[in-house]
Amino acid sequence: MVDTVSNAANSPALNQPWQKLGLKEDEYQRIKDILGRRPTSAELAMYSVMWSEHCSYKSSKVHLKQFGEKTPDNNVLLVGIGENAGVVDIGDGWAVTFKVESHNHPSFIEPYQGAATGVGGIVRDILAMGARPLAVMDSLRFGAADAADTARVLNGAVAGIGGYGNSLGLPNIGGETVFHESYAGNPLVNALCVGAMKHDQILKSGANEVGDLVLLYGAATGGDGIGGVSVLASEVFDEAAPSARPSVQVGDPFMEKLLIEATLEMARAGLIEAIQDLGGAGLSCATSEMASNGSGGMRVQLDTVPLRDASLSPEEILMSESQERMCAIVDPVNLDQVLAICEKWDLTATVIGEVTDTNKLEIYWHDELIVDVPPQTVAHEGPVYNRPMQRPANQDELIADSAAKLAMPTTGAEIKADLLKLLSHANLADKFGITEQYDKYVRGDTVLSAPDDAGMVRIDRKTGKGVALALDGNGRFCKLDPYLGAQLNLAEAYRNVAMSGATPIAVTNCLNFGSPEDPAVMWQFAEAVSGLADAALEFGTPVTGGNVSFYNQTGEIAILPTPVIGVLGVIEEVGKRITRVYSNPGSKVYLLGETRAEIDGSTWAEIIHNHLGGVPPKLDITAEKLLARCMRNFAAYGIAEAAHDISDGGLLTALAEMVYDSGIGMKIEISQELAAGAMLFSESASRAIVVVPENGITAFNQLCEQLEQPVTLIGEISAEGAGLEITGLLELSYQELTAAFQTPLLPH
């Protein structure tokens, strides 16, 4: 028998499974206080998923508000945090929306579907802003390459990302893949999508006009993903627990492709008043958020929802996370046209309710009232926790344990041996085995993609305007100093975008951390958020939105604190982009920026010595902005033939990557000071290698001098030989480079 509102009022003492649904006792009490009675089982289901960590941001809210408070005053932001995704102005009437989201826990349990539906979810967020999705990227972290479970998770997740994104016709334009033992039981699968629209095509989610209809369209609702956000994404894995597989959603990219085309056809015809995708928390989220973001209320007839499984209870329908569904608010006069478009694309579309002026969300099941709640209390006024924070007891010990004491390579032979070990390590080796599983050509606007430093897509074929994107994380730096580490992450993504010649303008993030109930993790989180907000303000690039993924830990062991930062840049003419591939023998090779012997937390320390300790490299945001300004000028004037940022593995690794990608050799002559191991593998920030052809050298030097950019001539492109030669120190043949870079990522 269905639990109605009147039934709830008449049976206050009923024992309800709030604990099993992931609610705490005081949260359950709060629901009773709000309603003035016990919740019905349907209301309890809604509150439980919407008040989960994943949906309510209850542990992170108090920190995340800094992103709004520290927004640079530059009018870039058209839609800020709070809608499905942030939107930025890129000029000429174009608006771009981009966002990154985690699907970590599902991807561990069922890697293919977990990763696939991660892509599907972020694409729908972009679509829900009214944008045409244009490209995807992914940031992946797995356990050590030789760990027993890594192959299962990696192969499944990569196939899932490819299988879903390829079937949608969205090019995958880059990302990162990192291996570290801390991710063995908690892989990170973060997916980014970028989309574009004209300013007047931006859609929002608030249902405002009384009498407008609530239209559910796309896939039918099934029993998959029930409680995904509360059970999966908000709890620590317990090895003894029963399989959580039924909580993972199953994706159908074909249906999503139809959703994209139908939604854009309706939106461009002006037939949609508001829209929201159904992702985490399904209909509970869509109905309560659209009502809460709007000015009135909403009445829903839940029994009209098309079902894949007729036996589903109303509670299950409200909690189901079945994929490929959208909810639109439609003016009744437009209904016939909207239904015709859905029919054209063979999509089921059903009016499930209407907008009211009651300020209540009322849900009926066969004419019986089963939900009667103020929608704000479900969607936006959930619990807020100011969780205890405590700097870890061993943080001082960790910082004191500098890599400076490690044995440094000194001779050319030793440096070469270390370099080859770096290049053949899964973290630096060529990722073609992964990226070749992704379509990068479809839509015909991909200008840059992996392994370029940033991905780039053309937005406007007439003017050549485009956007560049980079997605970067560095859990090692964040472990040593989460405040500075998060800033260095942002700096690296910013620099990668700048390398392409684009101007970085906005930031998104996916914050992957352990349990917020651990004060040490909470301290890491708070520090990282502050660092990121402060740096974003100083860079002049607003944080447009983001996602928090907590509970990435197995038992007591949390992952490395891993904010993954996405930076978006604009380029006026994509034809002027700079790649990292050069082609002209005789061109000069320059090192921009200053190198210090900064090897704490470096890739060298990790791979050669399995060491993590000390303090991360220092960051001078002014220097970083200057480097970006130089790159923008090099691109605009066509001065640079190729460029590559220096990060993981330092100068020597960056040179090796350029030689390997270009297939033409480089002859480097550097000072004795720079030729030391600690300098060659140092990860000092704000540095890049730039290759300048003969006819650009004068202008290049003038620009660097005028802008006061530190620059050192370090060599030239070889007329013969395809290897990397560092005079007086070492020589690496192209065969040696290829053999190292093409080492299989996973041992067979």
Partner: protein, 222 residues
């Protein structure tokens, strides 16, 4: 008069926009056609673009081969109209029987996206007459089911009749006899697994070696 090339969009078609761009770059006019259309709107040629039509459910290309517009395409092809099936379009042409054989899962079971060298072995078709025989082209493959298979009895026949239009220099997917593209006996219907429409603009594709296919249909000669 400008050649009018119909580009058919099925639900799940993905490279229709790219095919239209390539047709225009080649000098012909692209005409959008919809899978529920029951006539070809007077076009001179048809391209079945890549993608995952109908989600590739049942088998790749199988459902598309039953769609209303395909009945018109089959009729027109039998009367000599040039038809090019790219990737998923190639799979459809095999499913309809306009071309012999079938495309199965790649030998390593993965989707592969990368530029591959192919060699033109038949320049007599409507879609390859611009090329010299033996021309080497760099064209991207991007598919999960691109392994060309045909019965052991038919293979010698296909070879003897010169129906192989292009071969891979380094076979990426296990296709029999390195076959990348084939034609029918009349030479008007061509199925190709690599994507020439993604090799027409060096800024966003893999070079420009694919332009010759679109010059061929537009009637461009050197």
């Amino acid at each position: 008069m400008t050649t009018r090339v119909g580009i058919i969009t099925f639900p799940g078609t993905l490279d229709d926009r790219d095919a239209a761009t390539a047709v225009a770059l080649g000098g012909a006019q692209a005409v959008p056609l919809w899978h529920k259309d029951t006539n070809l709107n007077g076009v001179d040629a048809v391209i079945l673009p890549g993608g995952f039509s109908y989600g590739d459910y049942l088998r790749a290309g199988a459902l598309a081969s039953m769609s209303p517009i395909m009945q018109q395409v089959i009729k027109a092809a039998d009367q000599g109209m040039p038809v090019l099936g790219i990737c998923n379009g190639f799979q459809m042409l095999c499913e309809t029987g306009l071309l012999p054989g079938a495309l199965t899962r790649n030998k390593d079971l993965h989707f592969i996206c990368r530029p591959e060298l192919i060699t033109i072995t038949n320049n007599k078709t409507a879609w390859t007459n611009f090329f010299q025989p033996g021309a080497e082209l760099l064209i991207p493959v991007k598919n999960g089911e691109g392994c060309y298979q045909v019965s052991p009895e038919s293979l010698p026949e296909i070879e003897a009749k010169g129906l192989v239009v292009a071969r891979y220099n380094n076979n990426p997917n296990g296709s029999m006899n390195d076959i990348a593209a084939i034609t029918n006996e009349a030479g008007n219907v061509v199925g190709i697994m690599p994507h020439p429409e993604h090799a027409v603009d060096g800024l966003v594709g893999a070079g420009v070696d694919g332009l010759g296919f679109f010059w061929s249909i537009a009637g461009v000669t050197v």
